[in-house]
Point group: C2
Chain length 198, copies 2
Amino acid sequence: MPQGKPNTVPDDGLTTRQRRNRPLLMVHTGPGKGKSTAAFGMALRAWNQGWPVGVFQFVKSAKWRVGEERALRVLGASGEGGPVVWHKMGEGWSWTQRDMESSEEAAREGWEQVKRDLAAETHRLYVLDEFAYPLHWGWIDTAEVVAVLRARPGTQHVVITGRNAPPELLDAADLVTEMTKVKHPMDAGQKGQRGIEW
Amino acid sequence: MPQGKPNTVPDDGLTTRQRRNRPLLMVHTGPGKGKSTAAFGMALRAWNQGWPVGVFQFVKSAKWRVGEERALRVLGASGEGGPVVWHKMGEGWSWTQRDMESSEEAAREGWEQVKRDLAAETHRLYVLDEFAYPLHWGWIDTAEVVAVLRARPGTQHVVITGRNAPPELLDAADLVTEMTKVKHPMDAGQKGQRGIEW
């Protein structure tokens, strides 16, 4: 429940409105649930504002995010809010060890697409889902990512999810939330279920 | 990234399928962002499964959740997933100190509605948004809430959000995630902005 009262007012030469509408880099990290789910929840707000939303899924899975994907596609096509483009980079490859090299390549290609879209100001909210993994693994250079994000033109908000987000990325972020696991059904022998986990 | 491998298999007499489809009580708490956003993200998954979704907003605000509300109403009306009912209990009252008594009453009325819906098995996912507050403040008895939730019939999933969720609620929950604030734009003198905070 934000109170609307900032703790400090910086001496940055910006008006409150300019500061308020500054493009944000947000990171959801940590071992708990809700990192991606919260990012997709943010996409609902962006859609409601009529903003173009781009989702880049840096993960391969047959069932993860099917609910979010279908919902955002229906919303994007409804004409009542902003358009939605969903890049499913996981298509055609996997994160398994033996397939490492081509996954790495696919992740890099995804990042190239993000760079092109940022340069063209294609979207106003970018959901880079599970993007922390290829950074953590060193597949994509975090310093380059930070430099590109710092230099992005216009008002383009970016939310990056995934465990183990590199410290350099956290330093560059405006907002960082860590999701901590307190209790999980799998600890009590329960597997993930339809409608809850995907 | 759930691996699908539970840490232990409990001796509870249930089959894996029964255990897997057990109704869940989930709590998103802590001082960080993403508690409600992640709950609304879960609603997308439930909607995609065709489940009836009930949202109970235990907070008054002119602008909070407008994006989520509009998105879920559009989705519910699309006929492509489950129906959505949105109870906005904040309508007509406020959480300010001077209005305490009637807010307390409104929160209690909201809980009575939740109880009726649970008894009638009206929804399959309940989002009790900011419900941790009236519990924390003692407006609604946590022991009663836990007893009602434990005894709820059928397969009804419940997700409760809000800071300071009472320990008895966390004990009763199947899944607890704590959102920790690592960094927030308000710390740097930036106020909340449209499309991001609401």
